[in-house]
Symmetry: C2
Subunit: 162 residues, 2 copies
Amino acid sequence: MMKHSYKVSLFLLIILIAGCDLEKKTEETTGQSASGFAKGEKINSANFTGTVWLNMMGATDSALHVSYGNVTFEPKARTNWHSHPGGQLLLITGGKGYYQALGEPARLLRKGDNVEIPPNVVHWHGAAPDSEFSHIAVSLNTDKGGAVWLKPVTEEEYGGIK
Amino acid sequence: MMKHSYKVSLFLLIILIAGCDLEKKTEETTGQSASGFAKGEKINSANFTGTVWLNMMGATDSALHVSYGNVTFEPKARTNWHSHPGGQLLLITGGKGYYQALGEPARLLRKGDNVEIPPNVVHWHGAAPDSEFSHIAVSLNTDKGGAVWLKPVTEEEYGGIK
């Protein structure tokens, strides 16, 4: 009787572990974060520090005047300082990171948070040192022009976040 | 020796089950979906059929010209037919549902999908019969005016989706 229970228990244990592992593998092989929004391709641009992935979801010059995509920053990765003539929304879909407007303290951001970036405010966003960070960035009123890119966020600026 | 293995196995099994259950409870008690975006409050409006939750994230008449929030539809719940003078984005954050523009087939939507709704296109969105459905709705160019609400989506229209 004891031996039978042992076998049943071991069987259930294996099923549970296999189930957990299968769930993880599904996420990895589809290139999607847990949010469901695909990670896209690595960005090769001087406007970023570190490794950043972009899934451009829409970039039209249609009547919507919007450009939007899912951005994933590896730990320590970040945008340069920059601004948007028409403003931007950030919808945080995973991980932990920061948004900082010039002359203001950095804001810590987590999944479910959001940021409204007014037109022409110089700022940067990116991952925390110990975490990936993903957000959908929605650039608004793009008929007013594209992003204005500035200098990289230095190690001193990034390391000085309190 | 067999008895010892049995106890270890049973202990691990209990830990795993407790772990899974704890994870589920955390989501339920914070009122958040797995996406991290809060579910908000039940909508009490004749512009919807069924039970719908709204977490209004931003509704400003600022320079961003945007209004956005997380909407959660219980199974079968849906908007009325309506349109947006400035257009709208839907970013699907969970579950399974539909978007349908007037005169076109309904589109099946899942977590990670997105929809671009052009200005003044009459449409509805909502949950599948057997699933909750959540999306962030981003109303654009809101300086052109708010949503124009029309008739409910009838049982015949909803039931006729193929």
